[in-house]
Amino acid sequence: MQMMVREALNSALDEEMSADPTVFLMGEEVGEYQGAYKVTKGLLQKYGPERVVDTPITEAGFTGLGVGAAYYGLKPVIEFMTFNFAMQGVDHIINSAAKTNYMSSGNINVPIVFRGPNGPAAGVGAQHSQCYASWYGAIPGLKVVSPYSSEDARGLLKAAIRDPDPVVFLENELLYGESFPVSKQVLDSDFTIPIGKAKIEKEGNDVSIVSFSRMVGFSLKAAEILAKDGIDAEVINLRSIRPLDRSTVNASVRKTNRLVTVEEGFPQHGVGAEICASVVSDSFGYLDAPVERIAGADVPMPYAANLEIIALPQVDDIVRAAKRACYRSVPLSATR
């Protein structure tokens, strides 16, 4: 059976709200508008306005309100229309939510989920295209996940809602309409995916390509192209940014000896930088080539269609980097 990511998210929300009366949704246009991206479609009709709450455009206010409700013991799912707008409420995500269980030494936990589209869409410009995975991924006390497929979306969202800690759930607008096959197990109402575990989407022996969210799809396409050139890539879908599944990544690199990281976010201090550091620290002797990092360009997102293409990773970029990792065909500039 095929399921769109949007439906996967909707069904996960529906099932969790049905099973647990303390779960409620809050955000802009989640109710009567049926969700800005239709992820919450039908839920207002089913659960009523007390549980599907349309908010004014006041992120600092409703992010804090959601965290306060979580302090009291409810299980809020706060939607940000995009994570760009979450910056208005980021103090509450970090200081009010992430750190509270620690500061209170376990007296107050915060079972909240912050979800919404993250990263670039198509032609939406600089203020609407940033990827926040590495920012949130740095924060102790937060769990940060980013699904790729419908199976990921269902399993991770259910796990996030059931989790007693704050979870940042990074979706992708361009994935909402994509369909993926889902098994009967995935459709089960108790289906969850463990937070903190990566998935090997395709096994391989020659080079490890590690990414998350939409870039997993690009990495799989790159792997097909590489296969034609005799390069057998292993594609890893991180699923979780924090905790980061270092052991799966390191085990893969110890097998393939070569690593390419792929992300849409800015390169400096990004997710790929952390993966590289982890591998260099724990599996140095196994690397046969420098770690290759593919990331969004180091510029605010331009609008013009041609510039947007070269501002973001494309399949060709991943293929090229993997080939470099395999043949070391580009000389090391520092030695010249």
Partner: protein
């Protein structure tokens, strides 16, 4: 007149636990007394409550004891800070005690309170102990947050105290969220979200108030106006320092925050209002004797005459002392004895707290999550110090 020593404070559950068990009630101590508040209330879009407050000898004596305890605790914290046993931030509440005790007299532990960083006395009012307070301030493992929070991060969820917050203004939307949850659960209780005159200008406060009013949440916003946001006087930071009116569409009440009975009356009134009609703002006109924190002498932006003037004219403990004496509920000596007892309690708690050890090094990695899934966390040298989060 019955002796103070025969009044049992046990039934009142005063803050201090070390009350002598030999005291017992006389029938007169719960008989009602009516007292006029020092000043009338001023209302904004609401008819203010009456100035006549019902109280009892028991209540007044409890107010005295509790406020004396809070006062003594804060002054002792000042000494501990100067002795470098308390580090970092320490924001003291002496002068503002009436707000905490008056509020507690009007509500239950099922109502919630959330405040900012000037939280030691609020914590005590909610049932925290002196020992846990001093141990936390000194970063010891018997502190209320096991030494991991510090002065600004006291919590007591089982008595409805939600902290203890360091980011100015953040506690207001959090408090509105608590009241959202109370309404969601149909609890018939309210939340008091406390903030200062400095925080009163924060945008998130107005965002939260808007939602509270839209959704009729049982929220009471309490502005503890001590007239200075750190070193900035209210006239320099607010175009309109009438904080009780700043809610615009939300009603407000201006209250003499140095009068515990006025505070009690206002909080009782506000609770009834909020349960039926949604949010209300209470502006408590109060004063802090100390500077903003222990790093601030508090005299560069206000005169010593102003400080001593308030102490002379409006001190909350002196007000209750005069009331008690004028109503013949206790003698001067008995009240002085109470103050001596309270001092002794504080000293004993400090001595005990000093003996509490610092937390074990392994506590660095505890409570990061409720469920850590066995992931690794790292110390400064990740090859030297790692832990598994349970």
């Amino acid at each position: 007149m019955a002796q103070l020593t025969r009044r049992s404070a046990k039934l009142l559950e005063p803050i201090s636990a070390a009350v002598s068990a030999t005291r017992h009630l006389t029938t007169s101590s719960t008989s009602p007394i009516t007292v006029e508040t020092s000043l009338p209330f001023t209302g904004h879009k609401i008819d203010p409550p009456s100035r006549s407050v019902e109280t009892t000898p028991q209540e007044l004596l409890t107010f005295f004891r509790d406020m004396a305890l809070m006062r003594r605790m804060e002054i002792a914290a000042d000494s501990l800070y100067k002795a470098k046993l308390i580090r970092g931030f320490c924001h003291l509440y002496d002068g503002q005690e009436a707000v905490s005790v008056g509020m507690e007299a009007a509500i239950t532990k099922k109502d919630c309170i959330i405040t900012a960083y000037r939280d030691h006395c609020i914590f005590l009012g909610r049932g925290g102990t002196l020992f846990e307070t001093f141990a936390e301030l000194m970063g010891r493992k018997d502190g209320c947050s096991k030494g991991k929070g510090g002065s600004m991060h006291f919590y007591k969820k089982d008595s409805g105290f939600y902290g203890g917050h360091g980011i100015v203004g953040a506690q207001v939307p959090l408090g509105i969220g608590l009241s959202f949850a109370q309404k969601y659960n149909k609890d018939e209780n309210v939340t008091f979200a406390m903030y200062g005159d400095g925080a009163a200008n924060q945008g998130q406060l107005f965002e939260a108030l808007n939602m509270a009013a839209l959704w009729d949440l049982p929220s009471i916003l309490v502005c503890e106006n001590n007239h200075y946001g750190m070193g900035t006087a209210e006239w320099r930071s607010a175009k309109s320092p009438s904080y009780f009116k700043r809610g615009d569409y939300a009603p407000g009440l201006k209250v003499d925050g140095m009068d515990a009975l006025a505070v009690k009356q206002a909080c009782k009134f506000a609770k009834e209002h909020a349960l039926k009609n949604g949010p209300i703002i209470l502006e408590m006109d109060t004063y802090r004797y100390h500077g903003h924190s222990m790093s601030d002498p508090g005299s560069t932006y206000r005169t010593r005459d102003e400080i001593s003037g308030v102490r002379q004219e409006r001190d909350p403990i002196e007000r209750i002392r005069k009331l008690i004496i004028s109503h013949d509920l206790a003698t001067e000596k008995e009240l002085k004895d109470t103050e001596k007892e309270v001092r002794k309690e504080v000293d004993e708690a400090i001595a005990k707290a000093k003996e509490s050890p610092l937390p074990d090094a392994s506590e660095l990695f505890t409570n990061v999550h409720v469920k850590g899934f066995g992931v690794e966390a790292f110390g400064a040298d990740r090859k030297e110090l790692r832990a598994v989060l349970p």
